[in-house]
Amino acid sequence: MSIAQSILDIAIAAAEKESAQRITRVNVVAGQLRGIVPLQFTFYFGLLAENTIAGGAYLNLEITPIRGRCRQCEETFTVEEYRYICPKCQGEDIQTVGGTELRLKDIEVE
């Protein structure tokens, strides 16, 4: 829930800086490892946004997959179902290089 609040705060600050009257859409990128449940998350966001300039804004959540990099053969790949095994060399020493991001990409305003 505090993540929804942080998104709202950052979005409103960005909109006010451009003297926008209303936020209509908020585009967020969240890595799969963040474990964000979209339905619950958009519900919280909607609640918090009520009576602000983001009231009624559409929250678009783009969930990005977990990406791993094999420390043995350098192969980069998408980790599915948390199987941290290199598809090329079957190595198990995998570094997470994507899937933990949590970014407010942009907002649409009027």
Binding site: M1, S2, I3, A14, L33, G35, Y82, L102
Partner: protein, 223 residues
């Protein structure tokens, strides 16, 4: 009109966490962010730890709870320096809450500071508080599939304590399965079986703390 923002949503928190970490480093505190679901045994682990380390290393605790101060009351019996944070509605501790607790602790007299997070396997994993390591407790009364359901928590932790192993025979918890699931989300995760009731594994947990301390700061400081 589209406004590009590209802001890291947790950046403000991470900045404060970095400042906390600097304070801890100055005082030579090894800081552990202890997380689990409610009832997995965080406070009991700290009670056992407090008893066991009494003269060997100085433990301090920041305990987060949504409403009550019961955890800190339990810990004060062991003469540990404890600060209780009641978070109100928040389901986790964040860096700012920890910063607000620091003036109430004499950090120069603490070797290992454990931040006992709010019982929850989701949100606490999102917020850095300035810790050196995250440690997660999973108790055998919960279920061996938890690492797959809450991957971020297990992915970000350095150590998994599987607690209440004395109850294993009464549950359908499969220890091997739990370990395999945990390894799937985090191949680097260290694991230990413990029972806060029988004391099994407590010594191993304390030597883990000691080793981490020495790796970071060398020998223990003595007042």
């Amino acid at each position: 009109m589209k406004i590009s923002v590209m802001a890291d949503i947790l950046e403000a928190n991470d900045r404060i966490a970095a400042a906390n970490k600097e304070v801890f480093g100055k005082h030579r505190n090894l800081v552990i962010n202890l997380m689990s679901s409610p009832g997995a045994g965080k406070t009991t682990l700290l009670e056992r730890t407090g008893e066991a380390v009494r003269d060997k290393l100085r433990l301090g605790v920041i305990a987060g709870d949504i409403e009550t101060t019961r955890d800190s009351e339990r810990l004060e019996r062991y003469q540990l320096p404890v600060v209780q944070l009641t978070t109100g509605t928040a389901c986790h501790l964040d860096a700012n809450m920890i910063a607000s607790a620091l003036p109430h602790l004499d950090l120069s007299r603490i070797d290992i500071l454990v931040i006992e997070n709010v019982g929850n396997l989701v949100c606490p994993a999102e917020f850095r508080v300035g810790e050196d390591f995250k440690v997660v407790i999973l108790s055998v009364t919960e279920g061996d599939e938890k690492p797959l359901k809450y991957p971020l928590m297990f992915r970000q932790s350095a150590l998994l304590l599987i607690n209440k192993v004395d109850l294993l025979e009464h549950t359908n918890f499969n220890l091997e399965e739990a370990r395999a699931n945990a390894r799937r989300v985090n191949p680097d995760l260290e694991m230990m079986d413990v029972s806060c009731t029988t004391g099994q594994g407590i010594e191993a947990w304390i030597s883990w703390l000691n080793q981490r301390y020495q790796r970071k700061f060398g020998n223990l400081k003595r007042a």
